[in-house]
Assembly symmetry: C2
Homo-oligomer: 124 residues x 2
């Protein structure tokens, strides 16, 4: 009964699945988790440069959210200029297999989806 995992949860905070999807589904979380999964540990500006087209605000916000959820670890070195390092927690790492398999599915089936969209468009 998959649907039972979603139904009867009026608020987002009540539903585990919606809670996870709200992270997974936002614009930057998955990419950041993926990059940290590859690179291990990165500083703020290293992440910023690797992603390229993210705004500083969204990088900060997304990292904070991931940290709050216990998916990303933040190490601050109290020096000037400051140095902050980000890495995945074990909980964050446990998400990597899902991201990889979803990535694989997406690349595998994207052509079929594009064909379907084109067909749908021409029929309307």
């Amino acid at each position: 009964m998959i649907a039972e995992n979603y139904k009867n949860y009026s608020l987002v905070d009540d539903c585990p699945v919606r809670n996870v999807l709200d992270r997974v589904g936002d614009k930057w979380s998955i990419l950041i988790i993926s990059i940290l999964g590859e690179c291990g540990t990165l500083r703020f500006n290293e992440l910023n440069n690797l992603i390229g087209n993210i705004s500083q605000k969204m990088l900060t916000v997304t990292l904070k959210t991931l940290e709050a959820d216990g998916l990303v670890d933040r190490k601050m070195y109290p020096q000037i200029p400051p140095k902050v390092e980000y890495s995945l927690t074990p909980l964050g790492e446990s998400l990597l297999p899902f991201i990889e398999s979803l990535t694989h599915w997406a690349k595998e089936n994207m052509p079929a989806i594009l064909v379907s969209r084109a067909k749908y468009k021409s029929n309307n």
Copy 2:
């Protein structure tokens, strides 16, 4: 190289993974796919009643998007009053395992996430 699946795609339409996540991440798609995966075939108002708190507009929009992407099949019976049946396509069904495992992960790790959030909150 997971991150290579996201980087260098300036537009959403260019990136397969973002394309999939934009579906998976929206408010209703996963729930609808899950329910159709359980029930097989359902009429519009059956879906509406099963979900309960979805607006008619979003049910229509989500179903159309899923249909356009080739994940959901729509059978229209030209009669009065009209009858429309929705079901998963094979492509849509191929997403079910991912949804199930993600659901499982979410329920499994939600307590840890909630603990982490509480801890993070009290530290700020």
